[in-house]
């Protein structure tokens, strides 16, 4: 084509990014990669390798080593060996290394971007302008956390060796999200990239070693799911951090149950993209481009469900269709490409069949007229309108450039539809009305809410999900806590003293029932349980069901003001104080405490209620300043309904210590008190009843701990379970049962804590466990 012809056609023409330097790097390795263990390239014990393919051309880029069990073992050993040296470096020493990694990423930004695009198929614009700057930013930010760790996280220690498994959609960015906080906190890492996209991790490891990352601090083992499984099950690993599908996340939760491994999961999503009638529709259309047509829609937080006001829908659809046609699909290395290749033929097949099912279920299909390139693995931008909430394409994660659209009538209906999902990763809200935006954002079940923007990320703003989108946060202060553990002293509770089970009969019989929905209720089983000092109801599954149902309805407690919640907690203390002598007598009678011990336990319980009353209106969240004109509000939100399993030790104090912080943050609690000594808890009913605790906010179900714990953990309408009962088996069952709906769990793995010690019995860890951070991004400007 000559210039005269172009002058008539005004085409963009080719604008290829050169792959030369990247190809030279592949050639230096003879297109053959080993494992990166202990700072060296190591041959895999399997002797096997697999091909990594450029999805845009179908050509093999290199052979990648297939790690075996022995290799994972070697990597864990190398990481363990590197740990003392990495610890000795200190915060500042580690900060220097992380800073060097940030600089290294910037120095080699283009090479890393091109390698990523070759291996993954995403457009060079995205790797160059989005992924790589975010990667560098993440290491800078965490160099800062390394520097500040000792000052800002006192009483915490690193976890040790961390196993990390990252997906193929943002191979290098997800590596950064995992590796930077792990190293900053003082851990060492064994990382497995996704089998389709190993190259950028291998290149990163090579460059990081050159930049001064000590040998063994970061080890890369490559391979498919089995390698990940080996990591997950490896006894020498202290934490697993996983980003990927909900399905795999579920199996990791099940596999690690009871192992003592800490776990964070960043999983799938079906994020709503809500357009109100007063939105800037052109802005919303560009938002959709940045949301569902970003990275071919292979984004866990993609706004894949378009919810649009019914009266606005047609205009928005017209605008969307017009915009879709200007998206350019083609060679990912071309600088004018908007839509690259999907990662693999398997993935494309999945998208195709889901779209077919969507159409079969009644949706109207719109596809961009952009012609797909002749070869390679492409799927065009797609809009499905008239989708019903019941349709499969409205429910399941497609992980492709497919936007499923449906309409709503009122803001309330928009919120209901938005939350009608098992997922809860992100949401977009488009409106020019600040009242509407700030009203809707807290109501959405999502870890991130973007107001009038989409897919904004920053290392300072934690990212992570609600519900089956996983738990844990990456980025920011909350992300650092995921790689630290409170450094608590070992504590062994005293052996329970032998007690007479039956107490002498009271003048008038007192029968402790359960406490459900604000009143005492007979146990469904109709059985009683013999305990020291008397009998309590034998709670069962149905009692848990009833308690959870009442708790679910008691959302007035969550909506109550912080001041109001504080008042109730102080009032509980006031009324406990009025009955202090009664509780002292009870503890002496049923726990075998001396009078002095019992007095101290009651006094400490009172103080604890004051602590949580004090905190109720003080755990405020943060205002982040991400790099845009605007703010990101990090709001700690109540989880909802928490199941709380209490220990036998100090049956009043431990019981109060567990539910009070949960209530303080606005959760409703179903508490299972001490199995052996429940009477102090059942005596507490009257304190609850006289303290303005709304019905359902705090339920108490006595009975067999492990069974009740498991029922709570398996309950689909319970948002989290705390198992701090000093009972390893109960903890294991909670973790295992929670896999079904990936609810959050906080368990002690059988390690008891001394509830009298404020470091163990209270503290901000309880507040963090009682809340999840929602980041609301609010760009502004008129």
């Amino acid at each position: 084509m000559n210039i005269a012809a172009i002058l008539d056609s005004m085409d963009y023409g080719p604008a290829p990014e050169s792959a030369g330097v990247a190809e030279a790097w592949l050639a230096r390795h003879d297109q053959q990669f080993r494992l990166f263990i202990g700072g060296k390239w190591v041959k895999p014990s399997t002797g096997k390798s697999f091909a990594t393919v450029n999805p845009a051309s179908g050509k093999t880029l290199a052979q990648i080593a297939l790690a075996g069990e022995g290799d994972v073992d070697a990597a864990v050993t190398a990481a363990r060996k590197a740990l003392p040296g990495w610890t000795r470096l200190g915060g500042h020493g580690r900060a220097r290394v992380l800073y060097a990694l940030a600089r290294m990423v910037q120095r080699h930004a283009r090479l890393l971007a091109v390698v990523e695009t070759l291996d993954n198929g995403k457009p060079i614009r995205e790797t160059r302008d989005i992924d790589l700057p975010l990667v560098a930013r993440h290491f800078y930010h965490h160099a800062g956390w390394a520097q500040l760790r000792d000052a800002e996280f006192p009483g915490h220690r690193p976890l040790g060796v961390v196993g990390q498994i990252v997906p193929w959609n943002f191979p290098l960015l997800m590596l950064a999200w995992k590796v930077a906080p792990a190293l900053a906190a003082g851990n060492t890492v064994v990382l497995k990239p996704a089998e389709d996209t190993s190259l950028s991790a291998l290149l990163f490891a090579e460059l990081a070693a050159e930049a001064g990352l000590p040998a063994g601090a970061l080890n890369i083992v490559t391979g498919a799911g089995e390698v990940g499984e080996t990591i997950v099950r490896h006894a020498g690993i202290d934490k697993i951090a996983f980003t990927g599908s909900t399905e795999v996340g579920r199996s990791i939760r099940a596999a690690t149950a009871g192992s003592g491994k800490k776990l964070t999961l960043e999983l799938g999503g079906k994020s709503p993209f809500i357009v109100f009638d007063d939105a800037d529709l052109d802005a919303a259309v560009e938002g959709a481009v940045d949301s569902i047509w970003f990275n071919q829609g292979q984004v866990c937080c993609a706004g894949s469900r378009l919810l649009v006001h019914e009266g606005t829908a047609e205009r928005l659809y017209v605008k969307l269709k017009t915009r879709m046609d200007t998206l350019r699909m083609g060679d990912p290395l071309d600088k004018c490409t908007d839509i690259g290749a999907v990662v693999s033929p398997r993935q494309r097949q999945r998208i195709e069949s889901l779209v077919e099912r969507g159409v079969a279920e009644g949706a109207t299909l719109w596809r961009s007229e952009t012609p797909p390139p002749g070869t390679g693995c492409y799927y065009p931008p797609t809009l499905l309108t008239g989708v019903s909430p019941a349709a499969e394409v409205a429910q399941v994660e497609i992980f492709g450039p497919v936007l499923a659209a449906m309409t709503f009538r009122t803001p309330e209906e928009a919120v209901t539809l938005a939350n009608n999902s098992r997922y809860g990763l992100a949401a977009c809200v488009w409106t020019e009305n600040v009242n509407l935006a700030l009203d809707v954002a807290p109501k959405l079940k999502a870890g991130t809410v973007w107001i009038n923007c989409a897919n904004q990320f920053d290392a300072a703003c934690g990212f992570g999900g609600y519900r089956e989108s996983g738990f844990g946060r990456e980025g920011g202060r909350e992300g650092m806590y995921e790689y630290l553990a409170p450094d608590l002293p070992a504590y062994a509770p005293p052996k329970p003293r032998a007690l007479r089970l039956k107490a002498p009969p009271a003048a008038i019989d007192r029968t402790a029932k359960l406490h459900v929905g604000g009143k005492q209720a007979r146990p469904d089983s109709g059985y009683s349980r013999l305990v020291p000092g008397g009998e309590v109801g034998e709670g069962n599954r149905k009692d848990i069901r009833n308690a959870v149902e009442a708790a679910r309805k008691a959302d007035a407690w969550t909506k109550a003001t912080a001041h109001n919640r504080a008042q109730v907690l102080y009032y509980l203390a006031e009324n406990l104080s009025a009955r202090a002598d009664e509780f002292v007598r009870r503890l002496c009678q049923v726990a075998g405490s001396s009078k002095a011990e019992a007095k101290r336990e009651v006094e400490t319980s009172l103080a604890r209620l004051f602590t949580w009353g004090a905190w109720a209106d003080k755990f405020d969240g943060q205002v982040h300043n991400p790099p845009l004109r605007g703010v990101a509000l990090a709001m700690p939100e109540a989880l909802g309904v928490i199941g709380a399993i209490c220990p036998d030790d100090m049956p009043l104090l431990s019981f109060v210590s567990i539910w009070a912080p949960a209530l303080a943050m606005g959760n409703r609690v179903v508490a299972v008190p001490s199995q052996r000594c429940p009477l102090p808890a059942t005596d507490f009913y009257q304190v609850i009843d006289t303290s303005d605790v709304p019905p359902g906010a705090l339920a108490i179900v006595t009975g067999e701990r492990r069974g009740l714990a498991e029922t709570l953990a398996a309950h689909g309408d319970v948002d989290a379970v705390w198992c701090l009962a000093g009972d390893a088996e109960a903890a294991r069952r909670v973790e295992a049962a929670s896999a079904a709906d990936l609810k959050r769990s906080w368990v002690d793995h059988g390690r008891a804590r001394d509830w009298r010690d404020p470091r163990q019995g209270e503290g901000t860890e309880f507040l963090r466990q009682a809340t999840q951070v929602k980041n609301v991004w609010i760009p502004y400007g008129e």
Partner: protein, 337 residues
């Protein structure tokens, strides 16, 4: 949305004008205040779009050369200085006819193409000189008018000024709107005023300068754009070049989206002219990408796209020489205006 009826036009002769060949005049329509009041512009989203655009589109090699030549064809080569003289304007007109060195055009295979700028833009006093200097070239003369740049002379005089420029041979009239109408939200007054200017233009093309740097908010830019188009503007133009802030990409995107809305409502294509502050070749490419992406291919042609600029041409010439020779060029290697 109310069904909108275009206002009938009496300007049937305008279509014969060379500058608007194949492009019908905008008859305007009755003021639709519901549309004006309902306009939403999210500034952060607008800024994000324009900030990412240069990363999404680029042109290289022959394509870049062609796009830059196209940009030249869209330039309203402008001189609006107090020290303008007749000779100065004649020099400018000569440059307008031959904006790129002949040898460079030959090297690019464009020797047989008539490569000249979109128009020459001057004050009323210089219109006859420019018309004479451009005779036979087909290059229209545009006159800034209506008390440019402040627009605060008496309305009657402003209308007379338009009539005088048209009578003197100006084919395009760049009027300034009364910013005060936009700033206080008196859209009817603005509509009436522009309507009157439109009538005074007769066959000449009406370009309305919003002076966006004075309007304060993008929402005001959007509203003023809509009102001017409803009043019959053939082009909407960002700036006089005399405001503190002149053409910017966010302002331009806002105006382009209004042009798109207007077309959806009336079927009418309105042109766009950013003016002031576009002096580098790489900047003008971003404007072209914005036109192409937001409005489409027709808006890359001078019938619908003009760039008000004086020093831009020099930079494009240097880039074109670099394209031809592979060596970076210098200003003194290209003839002055």
């Amino acid at each position: 949305m109310a069904k909108l009826q275009p206002v009938p036009s009496n300007d049937s002769d305008i279509a014969r004008h060379p500058a608007v060949a194949g492009h019908g005049r905008n008859p305007g329509m009755a003021l639709d205040l519901d549309w004006v009041d309902g306009l939403k512009v999210n500034r952060s989203a607008v800024e994000r779009r324009v900030a990412t655009l240069p990363g999404r589109r680029t042109v290289k090699k022959d394509w870049q050369a062609a796009w830059l030549v196209k940009a030249i064809q869209c330039i309203d080569l402008t001189t609006l200085s107090g020290d303008d003289t007749w000779e100065r304007v004649r020099r400018l007109c000569a440059k307008a006819r031959q904006p790129v060195r002949r040898d460079l055009l030959d090297a690019m295979g464009l020797g047989d193409r008539k490569i000249q700028v979109g128009a020459v833009c001057v004050y009323h006093e210089m219109v006859p000189t420019a018309v004479e200097a451009l005779a036979g070239s087909g290059i229209p003369v545009a006159a800034v008018s209506t008390g440019f740049p402040a627009g605060l002379s008496p309305l009657g005089l402003r209308i007379k000024e338009i009539e005088a420029s048209v009578a003197a041979g100006a084919a395009e009239i760049d009027i300034v709107i009364s910013r005060r109408h936009a700033l206080v939200g008196d859209w009817r007054a603005l509509h009436d005023e522009v309507r009157a200017f439109r009538a005074a233009c007769g066959p000449a093309h009406l370009k309305t300068i919003l002076a966006t740097g004075d309007l304060g908010t993008l929402r005001n830019v959007a509203r003023a754009s809509a009102v001017c188009m409803m009043a019959g503007a053939d082009f909407i133009k960002t700036s006089t070049g005399k405001e503190t802030v002149n053409a910017t990409l966010p302002v331009s995107l806002t105006m382009l989206r209004m042009i798109r809305d207007y077309r959806e409502r009336t079927g009418q294509r309105i042109g766009f002219k950013p003016a002031g502050g576009i002096s580098a070749a790489k900047d003008v490419l971003n404007y072209q990408f914005l036109m192409c992406e937001e409005l489409g291919r027709p808006w890359l042609e001078p019938e619908l796209f003009r760039i008000g600029a004086s020093s831009l041409l020099g930079d494009i010439e240097r880039q074109l020489e670099h394209h031809v020779t592979g060596r970076y060029s210098a200003a003194h290697r290209h003839p002055l205006a």
